[in-house]
Amino acid sequence: MNEQTQTMTSPVIHARGLTRRYGDTAVVDGIDLDIVRGEVFGLLGPNGAGKTTTILMMLGLTEISSGEISMLGFNPAREPLKVKRRVGYLPDAVGFYDQLTAAENLAYTGKLMGLARAERAGRIEQALRRVGLIDVASKRVATFSRGMRQRLGLAEIIMKRAEIAILDEPTSGLDPQATQEFLGLIGELKAEGITVLLSSHMLDQVQRICDRVALFKAGHIVLVGAVPELAIKVLGAGFVVEVEAEGLGIARRLAMIPGVTHVETLSADRFRMTAERDVRADAARAVVAVDGALRRLSVDEPSLEAIYARYFQDQPAGGVRHAA
């Protein structure tokens, strides 16, 4: 890889019309993707939407029926070894050899990666330290919890020094704390400049760490973009601001703020505004302007869950929009 020619904007994953058919049914149907270096990209969608199949095509682990895909400039169907040397993969519900220790499991894949013995030992230690498994390095994996296995899988990707980390459902089956820890580790990968592609059907868990997401539905990508952008596109607003204030004509005043698309009066002193941007400062000014007493001002991040639910609800109903 030539660092000079790889600018930040040239895609490291590039797909056009990527399709996978089983018999007559296309489980991935003509998807286009461009993922740039260093971004955390989420493939989101319900089970069976085609996320895993897309990932397997990226790694050359399942046949591509039509269309094309390039990973770091290589074709995974024709040059799978080059791709697999540079891309790390954490499969859905990853498994390890239970009779071997954590370090032994990594040593095996390290050898398969072609790492020399001395290099390998150093990298294994470093990787296990990063994911917080160094103390159990010589324990059999049979004793590991689901969260520890996920972290061991991530250690494998760190050991590989992969340029792209592909994580399939990395947080499914983890308890909330383990999920937070794991998301933190993904954040560290991003900080190092590693491109992260993750799939999930748990939208709320991953929306915070994804720079952009692609929403899958039955083999199609129905929406792509940053979460706030999608919120505006689908919900008509990216932000939901709640105001608790006493005063006359507050609702009318709030509705006049530029960017606000809707104001709902929840009770005499509570209002919910949907807006394209964070309008808290303007809301405060509006309350002060009518001599109101501002008691609380809160903002909800746009929720992928809401976007998703809305999008799929609305499709058959013909795009009726309600205030959030």
């Binding site: 895993t52 397997l56 790694l59 682990l61 399942t62 024709r78 040059e79 799978p80 070894l81 080059k82 697999k84 040397r85 891309v87 790390g88 993969y89 954490l90 499969p91 859905d92 519900a93 990853v94 498994g95 390890f96 050899y97 239970d98 009779q99 095996y108 894949t109 050898k111 398969l112 990666m113 072609g114 899988g153 494998e156």
Partner: protein, 320 residues
Amino acid sequence: MRREGSPFQGTSTVFVKELADHISSVRMLMLQLLIVFTALAALYEAINSLRQNTAEDPFLLLRLFTIDQAPLPSFVAILGFLIPLMAIGLGFDAVNGEHNRRTLSRILAQPIYRDALLMGKFLAALATIGISLAALWLLVIGLGLIFLGVPPGGEEVARSLVFLVVAIFYAGVWLSLAMLLSTVFRSAATAALVSLGVWLFLTILWPMLAPALAQVVAPPDPRYALLGLNDPATAVWAQELLRLSPNDLFEEAMLAVLSPTTRSLGPVFLDQLRGAVMGAPLPFGESVMLAWPQTVGLVAGTIVLFAFSYVLFQRQEVRA
């Protein structure tokens, strides 16, 4: 479309790991104990009978392999029976085990081809069996030295080494079969059951069925029966049908190699015996030539079965 890089990159890594797994596994220990104890029993009987029967025999050591004292079968017959069990024991969960442990996609996401995984596993299991058989071979030679007190001659050692090699090929057939079934069936238990079924069929039922089938295919001429003889056409058919079982091929090859007086395998025709001195041993080279077709048959069976699993495995979905 040529694939980039060597298809066998990583084979040695897989080989070393699998070999270590096999050697340290409880399963292997059990199989080995089973074989060693059964073999020891057979050898004990063989040594006893050889010590009583002190008639001079130029191939005393080889008799250790082949002599059978009712009710125990000979050492070679026991191996013919147990080698498949060992091969099945090592191969029945080779591929589906990786699926079920959910390690397959993680391993195949490393820069190797599937070829390396399958080949490494096959060679490691075969090497494990080879090591066990070599240990057994040493045991026989050692016991012969101690209890019969005769140092083995060069030809005896050579013949018994041929035995070792053919036994490994024989194991190869069963190992390929077990690995094929481990690729076909996602459940290891199913693969094991089907392998064992095939094994029982070929070792126990087929020797009974083959002659019966031969009677159907080539009904014996009643004139032979009047003379109290077997119809050679029927006998040839029975023989050829029997040879579809690797057990038969192994036994025939062992007969040729370990019993030097064997002059032909299968139904004997008078013209084959013309000029032969009955009871005189064949030279080593000729015995090996006699066992050659059977050995090639075993190797071919191994390759064909392995090729099937290879093709299946290449097309298989990696996800569990």
